[in-house]
Point group: D2
Amino acid sequence: VAKKVRVGILNVTGYAGLELARLLYQHPHVELAAVTGRSEAGKPLGEVFPTLDDLGLTITAEVQGKVDFIFSALPHKASAEALLPFLRQGLRAVDISADFRLRDAAEYKQWYQVVHPAPELLKEAAYGLTELNKDAICGAQVIANPGCYPTSAILALAPALKEGLVEPDIIVDSKSGVSGAGRGLSLGAHFSEVNETVSAYGLEGHRHLPEITQELRRLAPGGKLRVTFVPHLIPMTRGILSTCYAPLVESRLGSGLASAQSELAAVYRDFYRDQPFVRVVSAPPQTKHTNGSNYCVIYPTVDPRSGRLVVISCLDNLVKGAAGQAIQNMNVMLGFEETAGLLGLGLWP
Amino acid sequence: VAKKVRVGILNVTGYAGLELARLLYQHPHVELAAVTGRSEAGKPLGEVFPTLDDLGLTITAEVQGKVDFIFSALPHKASAEALLPFLRQGLRAVDISADFRLRDAAEYKQWYQVVHPAPELLKEAAYGLTELNKDAICGAQVIANPGCYPTSAILALAPALKEGLVEPDIIVDSKSGVSGAGRGLSLGAHFSEVNETVSAYGLEGHRHLPEITQELRRLAPGGKLRVTFVPHLIPMTRGILSTCYAPLVESRLGSGLASAQSELAAVYRDFYRDQPFVRVVSAPPQTKHTNGSNYCVIYPTVDPRSGRLVVISCLDNLVKGAAGQAIQNMNVMLGFEETAGLLGLGLWP
Amino acid sequence: VAKKVRVGILNVTGYAGLELARLLYQHPHVELAAVTGRSEAGKPLGEVFPTLDDLGLTITAEVQGKVDFIFSALPHKASAEALLPFLRQGLRAVDISADFRLRDAAEYKQWYQVVHPAPELLKEAAYGLTELNKDAICGAQVIANPGCYPTSAILALAPALKEGLVEPDIIVDSKSGVSGAGRGLSLGAHFSEVNETVSAYGLEGHRHLPEITQELRRLAPGGKLRVTFVPHLIPMTRGILSTCYAPLVESRLGSGLASAQSELAAVYRDFYRDQPFVRVVSAPPQTKHTNGSNYCVIYPTVDPRSGRLVVISCLDNLVKGAAGQAIQNMNVMLGFEETAGLLGLGLWP
Amino acid sequence: VAKKVRVGILNVTGYAGLELARLLYQHPHVELAAVTGRSEAGKPLGEVFPTLDDLGLTITAEVQGKVDFIFSALPHKASAEALLPFLRQGLRAVDISADFRLRDAAEYKQWYQVVHPAPELLKEAAYGLTELNKDAICGAQVIANPGCYPTSAILALAPALKEGLVEPDIIVDSKSGVSGAGRGLSLGAHFSEVNETVSAYGLEGHRHLPEITQELRRLAPGGKLRVTFVPHLIPMTRGILSTCYAPLVESRLGSGLASAQSELAAVYRDFYRDQPFVRVVSAPPQTKHTNGSNYCVIYPTVDPRSGRLVVISCLDNLVKGAAGQAIQNMNVMLGFEETAGLLGLGLWP
């Protein structure tokens, strides 16, 4: 039996951190050896999160003892700062924060209003949208785990953009559950304020927009890419559904609606043929189809009257949109089966 | 004191019918004299709907006694059929069903798969989007009360289209609470199936699409209008939020984002200046801002990077999207203050 | 036309304060003249609460101008302190906080951990459970508006206790929506933590217990009253359902289940015969039957196997459990019809 | 490697059946070989339930091929009828329906209004509350899997009753998510009717009452047991919280509250010491602590003022209340580790 990899989680007390712990509990090749969290340091993990009681761990302020691999679920800036010492020791890491997502330190500063703590690492980090970037992920020391919205938007649009089926004039209208806003308190996540209502936000520019734009541009280089991204908050805990719109390039798909539809579906199925966690489906999916699982489910279609591409994608923002994809990336980095620890089925209903 | 108008509701047992009864209870010029409902005929209204107990009415199979005005909340086809005898007696009516919304009987047949029961009336009916059509509503015998989605979409886009600010290339991405699906049972409205999930539907063409297209075309005649409409079901009871997208016509708004924004807001404020139930706001609204009230709240903005118009509109699908607008139309028809019976504030939280 | 009474609300920015403003907007004899709120002072009320925009008011730090009557929706201690100057000027007031509910300053200190700011007023204040205490309310200067749980529990049990039908050995198991916890931020009211879950709390003794006990003792003096009260938090915004249990005194109700049931119902109907806001019903009610309205709906029954009284009561915690009852008390104090401003029907669905 | 046991599920299309399939997918000793469902026969399982797509199964009308073990998730009566042929062939089975729960065919008829299809088997079946009945479960051919409410109530009360700490005068006030009502359509499970509301039901006698009474009587024989059981429906999908009340027998627990509390906790901890799926906790639990897992979490306490025992228990009605416990029983019957296939942690948030 191979020795298990000893893994640490920085900031287990946020939703991404706690979801990492839940998933790693069943990972066949990993031992969760350390979980940190300043505010709750010293407490048994099971006291703070009763669902994690079986892990038998205690939260510490800093990683104690030797670990072989690090996940950071800290907020941006704090995350890069906390990872630096581990990286200098040669450890490999997945960073769930935004710190290594944007290639350009100036753009990072513009969107996050802080100076990047380690700009020299930006070029070395790999963008961890596993399906699109496996080679780079394999060899990188640090992975920038994608944002939840970008994961849903980029996976939805990649086949069409890459195959030149659409004009680079894109609208992403996303609907997210409230857990995406994290465990920090705010009036906008207060039950009585957010239940039974829906709202758009980030209309002046959400921080996930430059990330979406950067990665879509890599798929369709040269073009003059225009992206409008409008996220919405809806009254549920988990899940993101993105509805993506783009004009179809004329005469790239078969004439006649049925033929265009089936060619489109074939392009998508082919594109994701070898990807264990992307499922191209033939009926509009729901977010709850992915509840607790690492799937991204995608439904591409042609709007029959306007000749527009419409793609619906669904995922669990805390799994494929955060902790699950982080583990998928670790699996690729460490040469495990890509699906290790991620085989649990979604919960329905 | 003027004599109160005696009003009847056909099919009080659906959500639109019951909301009519709730609102009419406080209408100063109306006496609710008859409420029908086949399946519950003979039962006290307060037994079927405890919140309506104070009305002291009994549900009957047919309207009994004399009424002066009729609301129909029956399903399509049944509605026109049931209204015909009243119209022949000269009564005026508001039809909440889809029966008089499409001007063209062939289009009606195409979308509703039934032959229209009274095609001769299609030309006489007025489309009851009160803000846009007051003159016609004043004089009409029968009003086609708009669908909930069309109300939110058309009010959101009318000023921009009418003023020629946008290209006629429109996307309407709507999010609706479950009450829009009505009181009839279906797996898609079963609590455990619809809670904690979001889904798109009607991608092949929702019945509200031809209605949106017909009315937007009246606002921007001549143009080659393209409309993509994607409704979504979200886990709440009441409310519709529509996010509408259209390319701005170049150099119609001031150069510079701030100036474009403020000109846009001015156009919208001006357009709805005299409308008591449209509120143009300067921050993104939520559906719960309209919970139980007849307001449609609209936030127009310019996407700073793509130069696209984005308009958010919110309303309560059972009030401004159905029963409230029906009463607003009746008020206009009968010469009452437009706001009579509709002054109650929304419920928050 | 009589001059309207000028009313002020202290702390309009909590849920009880905002609900007062919503309801007073339609009160025929009241003009809402001042609304205070430290944290939002200077802002238009409609900016903070869009549903209240039609009131056209601005939030101020202190009451400005002359008012004739005061509602306080401040937290305990702050409330009595803020009311004192108005009371000294001779104004009458309804206090929605807990400050005047317990007759005994020592008990107040024990449960609220602060010294009462105005113990001399405790004997003069009337406990504002309108149905049970109308005479005292009529003449009092200051009304202690009851807590939401006590209102539901006491109205449910009063007829049975007063008529000696039950032993004074009582269990109140209450289920409340989250708005009862107020608008202040806490992890326990954070959407992702409270959605899709139910929990009991206050098992060591909830602050509403001494209030329930004090008032039930007035109904059944002399007895050795034992009350167990367990509140639960459930994932909805508004509403309280209390399930109350007590052993029936033998041979007080007719022998045979049917006869016991109908005698019990008769006792309850009779007890509340003249009360406009208590509805004794013959089928188990739901909290949503009272959504937005001032009703308390009560269903008394006999458990056929154990011979126990079981009473279900439902109300909207922000209306009959707070702002609605406060207005009902004001109506009684000022000699208005008891129902003035409170006639709006509940929202369903 | 031992050969896997081939298992069939009768009626995979209800919530208990589908949850069985979800859990068995990761069971190390089981191969799910057949899933039946009349209404959806012929369809891929993943088409009907996308979360189950990885199972790669097709729904059939009847079990096809050889199976070694049967779970039935059929409705009562149909379940016993469908199991009979398998039992006659010597197969062992867990029946999730109510058919083998009540020992007495006459009582079955009284509560279920049908004649029992196999009364001769009632004595041979073991009641599958695993923690209390392991010996009988080991040897039985057919297991009556307990109802969701009885599981929560009996586990909450067993230690106190068995140790003689309480009088046999019991109240069980339960709060259940809507999935307990199953996948069948009804107005009472229609989203808009059940969201944002809470109601009590079954006040005249719920079918789980005789089951609770039968099993509690086995724990406290001889006594005159009185049980009042009031279930409530609350707006969430999964989970049951039961609040159980009983008078403490005097002087059985230490004098003084703290000492009584700690003795009580010790009794409970001791009682469940060797049970992997019962967790006795020291703070009030929430249903979401068990979301998707097989735990029953129990918090016993003493009401300080009334001297009453209050016990809170939480479980996931579809796991420990149905499919999970069914697998736990199969594990015991077949000599597997009791926890096989049931190690996944609960989902939070």
